[in-house]
């Protein structure tokens, strides 16, 4: 489980996160949703330590990440897989080298074992015959799948995804969503997904937190998000093209 306790973050006296507290459960797909500029990416970066929060704490299974030294944080990060918005694959490496990179760095596996693991991870994300290709030769969806394969290669306890569907066509976005949901169940990871895509919410949102202007606006599950009594959330849902039940009854 990952929990966030009263996180605050400002940039040049502009408050971006205004004391957010949240819990992300293990074995579930936890979604952070909100408009662009609402602070969800900043929250995600504070979770992994790419940004330092002004105050508040982040706990990884009761371990206070915020109070840790650089070395201690690095140890936690070895349990963490992250899918970046642009996939962030290493350009100079082939697909296979990308997937085995964390294994090469942190395990004592032999070359053969690493290749087997890479093969398993790539098959798990439904990629075949791409081991020797470079990221530049892949489509956006394939890059995201390779990034997922790289993230799961080390059996992470925590999986964080920043806008996993951005720039993807709807069918590919659906495939990525389903992969994230299935991997969360299969590997029993604590998965946190940062998105503004309501289709993703309805597809995989076991637990949903809506961030509005740096504050926690609402939280619940995808099953009760459509009936939520929150004006800003309802506006966000309507704007994203999903028809609210109230609108259906009115029609």
């Amino acid at each position: 489980m990952i929990s966030v306790e009263n996180i605050r973050k400002s940039f040049d006296n502009v408050s971006v996160l205004k004391g957010i507290s949240l819990e992300f459960e293990q074995g579930k797909t936890n979604l952070i949703i909100g408009q662009s500029g609402s602070g969800k990416t900043v929250l995600m970066k504070c979770l992994v330590g790419l940004l330092e929060a002004d105050s508040g704490n982040v706990y990884y299974d009761e371990r206070n990440f915020s109070a840790m030294s650089f070395q201690e944080r690095r140890a936690i990060r070895k349990e963490l897989g992250m899918l970046f918005q642009g996939a962030a694959l290493f350009d100079s490496m082939t697909v296979e080298e990308n997937v085995i990179f964390p294994l090469k760095m942190f395990t004592t596996m032999t070359r053969g074992e690493m290749q087997k693991r890479a093969e398993f991870c790539l098959e798990r994300v439904d990629l075949h015959q791409v081991e020797h290709m470079y990221p530049a030769d892949l489509s956006g969806g394939m890059k995201k799948r390779v990034a997922i394969a790289r993230a799961i290669s080390i059996n992470p306890k925590y999986l964080l995804c920043d806008e996993p569907n951005s720039g993807l066509d709807p069918p590919t976005a659906l495939i990525i969503d389903q992969l994230i949901r299935d991997i969360t169940k299969e590997f029993n990871t604590t998965t946190v997904v940062n998105t503004h895509d309501m289709k993703s919410v309805m597809e995989i949102g076991d637990k949903v937190a809506f961030i509005y202007q740096g504050e926690l606006g609402w939280q619940g599950s995808r099953h009760n998000i459509m009936t939520a009594n929150n004006r800003e959330l309802n506006k966000f849902i309507s704007a994203s093209g999903v028809v609210m039940p109230s609108e259906i009854s009115r029609k």
């Binding site: 992994v48 790419l50 690095r74 140890a75 936690i76 990060r77 070895k78 963490l80 992250m82 970046f84 918005q85 642009g86 962030a88 694959l89 290493f90 350009d91 990179f101 964390p102 090469k104 760095m105 942190f106 964080l160």
Partner: protein, 246 residues
């Protein structure tokens, strides 16, 4: 104030670079790769510049020292001293600052803006160490080799110019090349080259590592890397010359 900010941040980066590597074997492999990228791939330009530089120095010296009191072998002697003490270590390092420095800054800068460095950090990898340390070590090993090759080719260029133009008899030129040769001159050139190699790789790595923004900023970082590496090379050239030859 901005200067102190950059010096402080540069020193913090050097501290991060010098931390114990996660896996020495991966760093060793990276050093070999970087020696190829930063050194071997620069051999062509180093060779061309050195040969022509040696030829021009010889012809220029011959035309500017045309005096009955000056022995003819002085042209060979002056060519050798100029090439070994200054042209090969300093000029070649300045050329490498342009070629290698821009490459390092743009490579690391692109990795920064495409979140590849964030990905390394999230994995628990010391990104600064993994990306910059092999480049520094590789440059400090391969640049002296390039400079020694440059010395040889520079003198060869002078010899060819002497033979082709007849500005100085070949026997006198060769006598001048061998006249009162001091091994310390080579050590001095290598010490300078190693220092310059550290400057090129670390300063360029610094500008690449702290790139913010997109493609435009990567270009800016690359330009700054070349400009500041060149300035520090010239500055340290003066300091080392004073320390080592005084």
């Amino acid at each position: 104030m901005k200067l102190f900010y950059h010096i402080g941040r540069y020193l913090i980066l050097i501290g991060a670079i010098l931390q114990k590597p996660e896996k020495a074997s991966i760093y060793r492999h990276q050093i070999i790769v970087e020696m190829d990228h930063l050194g071997i791939q620069s051999l062509g330009i180093v060779a061309i510049v050195s040969v022509f530089m040696g030829a021009v120095v010889t012809i220029q010296t011959a035309f500017n020292t045309d005096h009955p009191l000056l022995p003819a072998y002085a042209i060979g002697f002056a060519t050798r001293q100029a090439i070994i003490l200054e042209f090969s270590p300093t000029v070649i390092s300045l050329i490498l600052a342009g070629k290698v420095g821009s490459r390092i800054a743009s490579e690391i800068g692109t990795m920064r803006v495409t979140e590849q460095i964030d990905a390394l950090e999230i994995m628990g990898v010391n990104a600064a160490g993994y990306l910059i340390l092999p480049k520094i070590i590789a440059s400090m090993i391969i640049n002296p080799v390039l400079v020694i090759i440059s010395m040889f080719l520079g003198i060869l260029g002078g010899w060819v110019a002497s033979a082709a133009t007849g500005v100085v008899p070949l026997s006198n030129f060769v006598y001048g090349i061998l006249f009162e040769f001091s091994q310390f001159d080579i050590y001095y050139a290598i010490i300078k080259t190693i220092t310059f190699a550290f400057i090129i790789a670390s300063v360029s790595g610094y500008f690449g590592y702290y790139t913010k923004g997109g493609a435009l900023e990567v270009g800016h970082s690359s330009t700054k890397a070349v400009v500041f590496s060149s300035i520090y090379i010239i500055l340290f050239n003066l300091i080392l010359t004073q320390i080592l030859l005084a």
